[in-house]
Symmetry: C2
Subunit: 445 residues, 2 copies
Amino acid sequence: MNEIAINDSVSSFIEWDSLLEKEVTFTGMVQNCRVSSWGGFLILRLPNYIVQCVMDRNSLNIKPEDIPVEGCVKVTGTVKASSIKDKAIHPNNCEIHVKNIEVLSSPSLEQLPVDTTKKELNVNIHTNFDKRPLTLRHPKEQAIFRISSVIFNEFGNFLTDNGFTRICSPKIVKTGAEGGANIFKLDYFGREAYLGQSPQFYKQMMVGVFGRVFEEAPVFRAEKHDTSRHLNEYISLDIEMMLENGFMDLIQIETRLLKHIFEKLKEKCSNEIALLGIEIPTVDKIVTVEFDEVHEIVFKETGKDYRGEKDLAPEEETLIGEYAKKNWNTELVFVTHYPTVKRPFYTMDDSTKEGRTLSYDLLFRGMEITTGGQRLNVYEDYLEKMKAFGLTTELFEGYLQVFQYGMPPHGGFGLGLERLTSLLCGLSNVKEASLFPRDINRLEP
Amino acid sequence: MNEIAINDSVSSFIEWDSLLEKEVTFTGMVQNCRVSSWGGFLILRLPNYIVQCVMDRNSLNIKPEDIPVEGCVKVTGTVKASSIKDKAIHPNNCEIHVKNIEVLSSPSLEQLPVDTTKKELNVNIHTNFDKRPLTLRHPKEQAIFRISSVIFNEFGNFLTDNGFTRICSPKIVKTGAEGGANIFKLDYFGREAYLGQSPQFYKQMMVGVFGRVFEEAPVFRAEKHDTSRHLNEYISLDIEMMLENGFMDLIQIETRLLKHIFEKLKEKCSNEIALLGIEIPTVDKIVTVEFDEVHEIVFKETGKDYRGEKDLAPEEETLIGEYAKKNWNTELVFVTHYPTVKRPFYTMDDSTKEGRTLSYDLLFRGMEITTGGQRLNVYEDYLEKMKAFGLTTELFEGYLQVFQYGMPPHGGFGLGLERLTSLLCGLSNVKEASLFPRDINRLEP
């Protein structure tokens, strides 16, 4: 038996400023090695930093040309003040003048299949995804997923601070929540089961327990279309809560949530934002517009007549996004009161507007990132609505029982992590915001 | 179009102390209604509180007997100082003297199938799981999942503060990471796919990118055994990191992580801990013991000779747990250097100990909660070890490519959320720590 003291030898962030003129030793991966006649620059990748090391041939134990890109090295050197322009390198106010470098491991390939040392990755999307363990090492790829990681974390932090309880609902389910054919089938010990399309039923059940709940977990959609807007597996950020002021409670909390996430991104990802050259919006008000009003605005602006249509065309979403930015000075638009026929059976109708629901889509930069709304909460209302929708209650017994036990007025929304990340980062394909995307043609790596 | 100001009408925790003698209005679910001749007590469930309301028949707009248990009510009343003994009620230093109660919704059933108003739930485990949306409303059930929620959140917070990046790896995969038969098959657009048994391969690949990564996500195990220790779907808390000091880095960070989680539980879940009558351990040192030493201790203590066996018997784990508590004053024991033949192919051998690995299990209260260790990081070492294990590399190409690109010395571990929760809460079955458990017989609700 050994008794060992707890220490923080492997902890935390490095306070570079306090290390100026001091000798340091650390391990990192070789992001790049720029050899020159006098020595060169070694760019090292550490857990939170991409550090510049200066190599002087005369005082180094190793030849710079013997340091392999994507090898792992242990370096010893002195921290010196510097002023670095390359946005991929941070900290940019200091560099390490190294005197000793030990190569701990090297790639087994003589030539890597993709060059990750250039300013741009410059590969097509298939190569990017095929060689993901390598291509993700490019600083711009890393930046996307550091941003995505902060969104995930801050979603949870904001909600926890606002009285929400995190739930973990099952992904192997007996009944799909969204209906339709886009559901993956599974053999569950000889029985037919499915992969959850959404935690909808479970988060509603849990509102009855905790009042306010959220979940951040994968969902699965067997979409057969290979588009730039869809993934077959993605992370759904879900909330569900008791409502006191109807669905405006949802719009308020979602706005505050996004405001919080955007502010944290500016604070925690300033390097990544600068490197990608992107802009994170400022949120200072709420803009809502009714579904039917969108058709009217589109008609007035373009002459295209979608009035009477029961859904928004993608073209309308793009257009209202541009219109909102120009006329209402916002990149976020809540479109409310979608038609009953286009919303799931659990959606509550607006008793004052025939055929319209207490639901909304949130458009960000002209693309839907959220669908939300108030849900039915009375058992008999479910029976009636399901009958009207031609649904049998049999399959939904496990879910419907909760409304027999009593449920408060409630609602919620879901936010796709990859879609939000891709819109923030200006990616042309949502798959680029997934570490290992899954689509109809892609199951690996 | 409507422009609306952002407000915090639906925000945050209630500062009860600042509301003393003030009138408040809020909405809650009826946890219990104890009617008496003079009026009675109404126990209301809010998102973060279980509040006691005092009803005086003479000054109330409604008869107490008309208030349905598990209905939703809007109450108005005055906050008064009080001293409440019932551990299920918090805050316990004030109560609401109500004057107006509006019933917003009621259960549709005249009698609920389970009584959640008693001190104990007192139902068998099958009823508990069948009626989950109701049984979870019992305060002791809620407490388990508030604790579980805090573990999940603080796992992420600690790691984020220590330079780890959160990753989201795919759950639909082409190859199982743990091998064997306990894997769920899936039809993926006509191709065979599987549900991830562990994020092992992906978290290793991502160490090459971010240096330190973690994931909190479901994993799926097609275990055919219905035991009190297994779930077919559970939440795996995973980390993987570059190592500077071998696998002791892992033991250090896991100890600090658990210390952090336990301290946060004491801080944030004091009501739940008191209600469940459980004890959260204090972590102030690390105790490690080698695998072979455990056999020796068991032999010396009981005369049972497991020496030469390549694994620990559950009986040995229990015994070493008791032994450690009594002799070493700890509930956490790291058992190190498991035999090579009992560890997956990616485990690194200890070059100084024939047939032993640089891996460990963490036992908590005599049960394994973690398996961790250093991994191979050189491509050729994988080829060699896989050959020795009789594995073909073909299936693992997507994974093995990363070692061709260069990988640092690294390792990691996985922690089962439900198992840790159940051990902390003293549950006899790990399924009780899952909101909606999945086992060979159970697929719903």
